[in-house]
Symmetry: C2
Subunit: 111 residues, 2 copies
């Protein structure tokens, strides 16, 4: 059983897979929203609003998807909260890592 | 006959009409290009490229469309060069203003 701080090879595989899947979801949702906004745009102001939307989404995705092992449990909690990741994808992580993620989720939810 | 520096009421009307028409052309072209790029986007990189495109276009339009009488002849020359404005829309300006615009256009073309 791995601790919170050390990551076994198979945990790293689990983490990478979950991280990549969540990123794909986040990008696909952004793409769908972007296409819908672009399609509905009729005025110049709508067009600039799409620019603002994309800039914010890009910044948020860059900020959230931080693949450092020191950050990863916190990142997974955020991704689950945001609906980008299903907790079941993290079944390959040690119990104490999953507990730490749940505590982070509970912390977000309490705010 | 008005000089290059002073603008009569009717010249101001001509200038405003030409400026607004050119802005409409610039925005309509940007909108068409934006819609086409958005429509063709399939990868996240395409989406971020649309963001970059919009940011550059917004910046360029903001910079180019400068309605100060001290800048306007130079601005009109740029707009004609960019294909946003037809010189015929400036027929209501004094001869020396139109000459100054032509000299600016010639200057751009010589570069």
């Amino acid at each position: 059983m791995e601790s919170r701080e050390s990551w076994s090879g198979s945990e790293k595989q689990t983490a990478r897979r979950a991280f990549d899947a969540a990123l794909e979801v986040a990008l696909a949702r952004t793409m769908a929203e972007f296409k819908s906004k672009a399609n509905a745009a009729t005025l110049p102001a709508d067009m600039w609003e799409v620019e603002d939307y994309l800039r914010e989404r890009r910044r948020e995705i860059d900020r959230t998807f931080d693949y450092r092992y020191s950050q990863l449990l916190f990142v997974f909690a955020q991704l689950i909260r945001a609906g980008y990741l299903d907790e079941s994808m993290l079944a390959g992580l040690s119990q104490d890592k999953r507990d730490a993620i749940r505590r982070d989720i509970a912390f977000f939810e309490s705010r």
